[in-house]
Symmetry: C2
């Protein structure tokens, strides 16, 4: 069996507290399912590192990390020490860009034991993926300001979409849809209002769908699409969107299932040329750091996604099952306070580890 080489970057705040449980659960799964996982820990991409070195990353970070299959990432940011835009753009967003992690993938899944803010939905009703373009589009660095400080002030920022950038995320999304029973893809657009870039997006979806005749496709304008997430989340199977639309939908989706505090996120380079990065969606949560009460599920679920991404089907299915078991049956003394229990990071993490 091939060894999966994993760079562990715990980062800041609760990232440091939940990471050990992510690793322990992965090790438990590895033992049972006979996987070879190799973990190497790094202290950079943290504000502690910044305090010592005046930067978030060493100059040779790319060489140090390039040989890994995956980065297993905790959370970054301590705004009292380093401003967020410095810590984030100097680490996580740098990884996404430099390692060309052009897919951001997030599950939207109604889990047993999780309080759902939507009425009358039960586990199983909602289960879809959001595929976000992660490198271009609305997040561009081109633009600027004219007549600054005057009444004539005007600010311009360009949205840039390339055929390469659009086609590769669509390809990934179509193939993901193809791999699922429902084989359904929903495209997020706004071609009735954003009348230059979004019609292009639609054009590429239409063109690409010719090569995936077994995938049924629909599209919705982003405004009504957000409404559908609330009104009929059961409709969706795979949803693909531009950088901005994907960003919005991948917070809204997990909010609709009540999982935003425990959701994972994969920043994926499907070519394997560079490592992919798996992280919990939650941040470093400085307000609760050091107390040992952070919910470790996001970190564990991110590990589960990592195994799934690399094709370890049985092991990843088992991990997901164990997460769900503990969420639904772990009980008050095990579950953390954010989910209404009296447990802590250790009780929660240990329960999942032992269930695997």
């Amino acid at each position: 069996t091939k060894t999966l080489k994993i760079a562990v970057i715990a980062g800041d705040g609760i990232g440091l507290e939940v990471m050990p449980w992510g690793i322990r659960c992965l090790q438990a799964a590895a033992k049972i399912y006979n996987l070879s996982l190799e973990f190497s820990e790094f202290d950079f991409a943290s504000c502690e590192y910044y305090k010592k070195h005046g930067k978030m990353l060493p100059d040779d970070w790319k060489e140090q990390l390039s040989g890994f299959d995956a980065l297993y990432f905790g959370a970054v940011g301590l705004p009292d020490v380093v401003p967020d835009h410095v810590s984030l753009w100097g680490s996580l967003l740098q990884f996404r860009r430099e390692f060309d992690q052009y897919i951001n993938l997030r599950p939207c899944r109604l889990m047993p034991g999780v309080r759902c803010p939507l009425a009358n939905r039960k586990p199983g009703d909602i289960d879809f993926w959001i595929v976000r373009e992660n490198t271009e589009g609305e997040y561009s660095s081109v633009g600027g300001k004219m007549f600054p400080g005057t009444d004539r002030e005007i600010v311009i920022q360009e949205t840039v979409m390339t055929r390469t950038g659009v086609d590769r995320v669509l390809k990934y999304a179509f193939e993901l849809a193809q791999s699922r029973p429902k084989k359904h893809l929903t495209s997020a657009t706004k071609s009735n209002g954003i009348a230059i870039t979004m019609p292009y997006w639609d054009e590429r979806v239409a063109e690409m769908s010719q090569s995936y005749k077994d995938v049924s496709v629909d599209k919705f304008h982003i405004d009504i699409l957000t409404a559908h997430f609330v009104q009929r989340p059961n409709h969706f199977d795979v949803v693909v969107g531009s950088n901005l639309f994907g960003d919005i939908l991948s917070d809204l989706g997990p909010a609709c299932t009540g999982t935003i505090g425990i959701a994972p996120s994969g920043n994926i380079n499907p070519t394997g040329k560079f490592p992919s990065l798996f992280e919990p969606v939650h941040g470093s949560a400085p307000d609760i750091m050091g107390k040992g009460i952070a919910n470790p599920v996001g970190m564990i679920w991110a590990g589960q996604m990592m195994l799934e991404h690399f094709g370890y089907k049985e092991a990843s299915a088992a991990m997901l099952k164990s997460i769900e078991n503990v969420l639904s049956k772990g009980g008050d003394a095990v579950i953390t306070g954010d989910m209404g229990g009296r447990g802590n990071t250790k009780t929660f993490g240990e329960a999942v580890e032992q269930d695997i």
Copy 2:
């Protein structure tokens, strides 16, 4: 008493069917509260007109309409007759632009008798306004395509924000917040990702808030803001956003309260230099047109908003109360099928009219 001059443009499809009930309810309110309303009907801005004249509007539409205080607008579009982008951009979007209706205003209100897709929310819990910039921002006409049809294809669209455009919508939003008991304003941003235009938006909010010290302000990135709409809609009082963010939030908000099918929308020129336009959010619904079963509440509520906008407090409060009375107590035989009843446009409209 001053006469309110109202241009009635029913448009297409169910617009034609709900408009009479909007007018009747307004007339009922006018009678009781002693208002002078003058209605003038126009047949243009409809696909029927397009069939006869090959265009959506007569050449002198601006002269014909400029003298009115308000346009009371039904719905436009019959995609089998005229493509949507032709009918919409040739009428509604033309009005918004040419009459410089730079505010789009929409209520987000949990009403009695309306099924709310969120769990454990009751009427009164959710009651806020969404203020959208309606003329610039992400909806710009600047940009284009390079290397078309090749692998190097690239498409660019510029987001344009001007000091004039941003400040005037913020001013409106701050003043609206100031007029409400909670005096709270939430700004939608994405300055952590859209790093040129959105920090500018934040800057203007911060600057402007100096002049409205009695208004408390917070801001959220659009991704997490959509999550908050689902998780704690009771937090909001007035929410202000750019053209795109406002568009998204003003569909998502009413979706969260179950009112998207009956919500109204005001396209407002606060200076009074040009008429403002009040319309239901729903479209022309060609699938149910001609059957007399369309829900008239969106049209009536749009009329209510119009009265509120022009300062007729008592009359508009009475209309809103009557809408809520009939929604909650009208009964099965009165309410239309979209809300689970067996009634029709007439039974529903008449019930509201008689309640006023």
